[in-house]
């Protein structure tokens, strides 16, 4: 072996309650080319309002939550996103990274490996976890 394994799980981030969690990116396969692809939220949705009795100029940016971003892969991935979310929920939760990446937040290494194995069993090689990109 040429290098050490010290960086194996460097993708640690603080979770919602301040505990250290593992963040890994979630990749599915492109329905067209079958290569691994992952959605990135480039800008929040801009939500405006129409009303019956008044004009509302307000436009509010709405960031998507992890599962909402995952659902946007429907028709782009080879697998059904709700099925993926169902598997993820058993081991961790879906979040959106600071750069808009779709991430799975997991409590520890065992959960990451169990989820990877659950993906293999359910979807073959169609869904994969990978390290985050700096």
């Amino acid at each position: 072996m040429m290098i050490s394994l010290r960086c194996e799980y460097d993708a640690f981030r603080e979770g919602r309650d301040g505990t250290v969690m593992i963040h890994l990116r979630l990749f599915g396969r492109c329905r067209i080319y079958h290569d691994p692809v992952s959605p990135v939220l480039k800008a929040p949705a801009q939500v405006g309002w129409d009303a019956w009795f008044r004009t509302i100029d307000l436009v509010t940016p709405q960031p998507l939550k992890g599962e909402e971003l995952l659902r946007r892969t429907r028709g782009w991935w080879t697998v059904e996103p709700n099925d993926v979310a169902e598997v993820v929920r058993k081991y961790g939760r879906l979040v959106v990274g600071s750069g808009g990446e779709l991430l799975v937040e997991l409590p520890d290494r065992e959960a990451a490996e169990s989820l990877a194995e659950a993906f293999r069993e359910r979807f073959g090689d169609q869904v994969q976890l990978a390290n985050t990109v700096p």
Binding site: M2, V79, L129, N131, P134
Partner: protein, 104 residues
């Protein structure tokens, strides 16, 4: 393989070719990562993939300019050479025997 019964894209020869290219790239990359002996979750992989992609896209343009559209097998070969070069820049080198196995 996907279980999509309505794989109309798969009828397009260009799409089929790119599927083969990406699949071969993935196989070579997995083989390389395995030979290097790191976890698929290693944090550095993202940086390496991004750098290799940038180098590959520049090389692709260069190869196309020199001799027309590159052959399928050239694309994956060029990609894995870029990946090997990126690893080398980070001080990770493989013995020649391992490199030969990866390039097959």
């Amino acid at each position: 393989m996907p279980t999509d019964d309505t794989d109309n894209w798969g009828r397009d020869p260009q799409v089929r070719m790119m599927r083969r290219v990406f699949s071969h790239m993935e196989t070579l990359q997995s083989r390389l990562i395995e030979r290097v002996g790191i976890s698929p979750f290693d944090e550095r992989l993202g940086r390496w993939r991004r750098a290799a992609l940038g180098m590959f896209e520049r090389e692709w343009v260069e190869v196309s300019r020199r001799g027309g559209p590159p052959a399928e097998e050239d694309l994956s070969r060029v990609y894995v050479e870029c990946f090997i070069e990126i690893l080398a820049k980070d001080g990770i080198s493989l013995p020649d025997d391992d490199l030969s196995a990866v390039r097959i």
